[in-house]
């Protein structure tokens, strides 16, 4: 399963990298936020790799689970060892397309609201999701932002009943990527 995903991803990267309209970031930011009665939990990952093909409208993200950083060591430990099982499932990834690509004029500065649809894989479980995204084009640079919710049970992430008041069943995910044109060699 994991091998297949990795292989698929590599194939997709290969497909993307052959296009001249490929943009990349290695410093993409993904934040998640859990709001629960006892505590709010937030974690940031600034090491997300993402590719964007402006011609085909394809987007791909890869995030290392262990790169999500928490305020408290105990939270980071529980997140990795109990919930995400990051030794077994070290990565989360997304591969999808901008469904209304024609709305965007990549050669003109502006802000566009679009929809991104694709497969999100977390904790070894793949689900098809749809999320709103904002694309901002300014001086040849592309910024992309998105905010959406996921349900932990959709990804078979088990929250023990003892901490059910500490961890929310719905997690809010924020994506912030500043892309640069892919330079070869």
């Amino acid at each position: 399963m994991k091998k297949q995903i990795v292989t698929l991803f590599i194939i997709s990267l290969f497909a993307l990298s052959t296009s001249a309209q490929t943009y990349i970031t290695r410093n993409g930011r993904v934040t998640f936020f859990s709001k629960a009665p006892i505590e709010n939990i937030e974690a940031n990952n600034n090491e997300v790799t993402s590719f964007l093909d402006t011609q085909k409208g394809e987007v791909a993200f890869v995030a290392l689970i262990k790169s999500f950083k928490f305020q408290k060591a105990l939270m980071e430990e529980h997140f990795n060892e109990n919930y995400m099982e990051s030794n077994t499932f070290p990565k989360a990834n997304f591969k999808g397309t901008i469904t209304d690509l024609s709305k965007i004029n990549f050669s003109k500065d502006g802000t566009y609201t679009v929809t991104v649809k694709g497969d999100l894989t977390i904790h070894g479980i793949t689900k098809n999701i749809e999320a709103p995204a904002t694309i901002n084009i300014s001086g040849g640079k592309i910024n992309a932002n998105s905010k959406f919710n996921i349900k932990v049970k959709d990804y078979n992430i088990k929250i023990p009943t003892t901490v059910v008041n500490n961890v929310s069943e719905t997690i809010s995910i924020t994506v912030d990527c500043k892309y640069d044109p892919l330079k070869k060699g």
């Binding site: 290695r26 600034n46 790169s67 060591a73």
Partner: protein
């Protein structure tokens, strides 16, 4: 002292101790990368190991429990940047033309006067391979 008060005091002592231990666990600090042993490796070697066999490299370098393995990476700076949390990162040169070893410094840590082309050594915790090899919560080795 009556039996009752002995029991009451015992309960209070146990509760206080439990609370204190709980508080300590809740607030336990992140491991300091400069304390204890670390796996010493060049950025080139670290990257090659991950690109050749990711699963084996993960076993070797990535902590399976929070902070239980550290790497001490030496390499040449290819890029210097700062993330949205204000942390400085240095991307070290590897044999790959595009990707490298990205070392994110711990909050507030920086290598004074470091510039592109300099050789540096940092210690941190390897998160894995994401096209770049990610080493987080780094501190400079003097």
């Amino acid at each position: 002292m009556s039996n009752k008060s002995v029991i009451l005091i015992s309960i209070l002592v146990i509760l206080a101790a439990g609370g204190f231990i709980g508080y300590k666990i809740w607030n336990k600090p992140f491991k300091d990368p400069l304390q204890g042993d670390a796996i010493k490796v060049t950025a080139i070697q670290l990257f090659n190991d991950f690109s050749a066999n990711e699963a084996a490299a993960q076993k070797k370098y990535v902590p399976e429990k929070l902070g239980n393995k550290k790497v001490e990476v030496t390499g040449q700076i290819n890029e210097i940047g700062k993330n949205d949390d204000g942390e400085i990162f240095y991307t070290l040169k590897t044999s790959d033309e595009m990707f490298g070893v990205k070392c994110i410094m711990d909050k507030g840590e920086e290598i004074a006067n470091a510039k592109v082309g300099d050789n540096i050594t940092v210690r941190g915790f390897c998160d894995g391979y994401n096209m770049d090899v990610i080493v987080n919560r780094c501190k400079a080795v003097k």
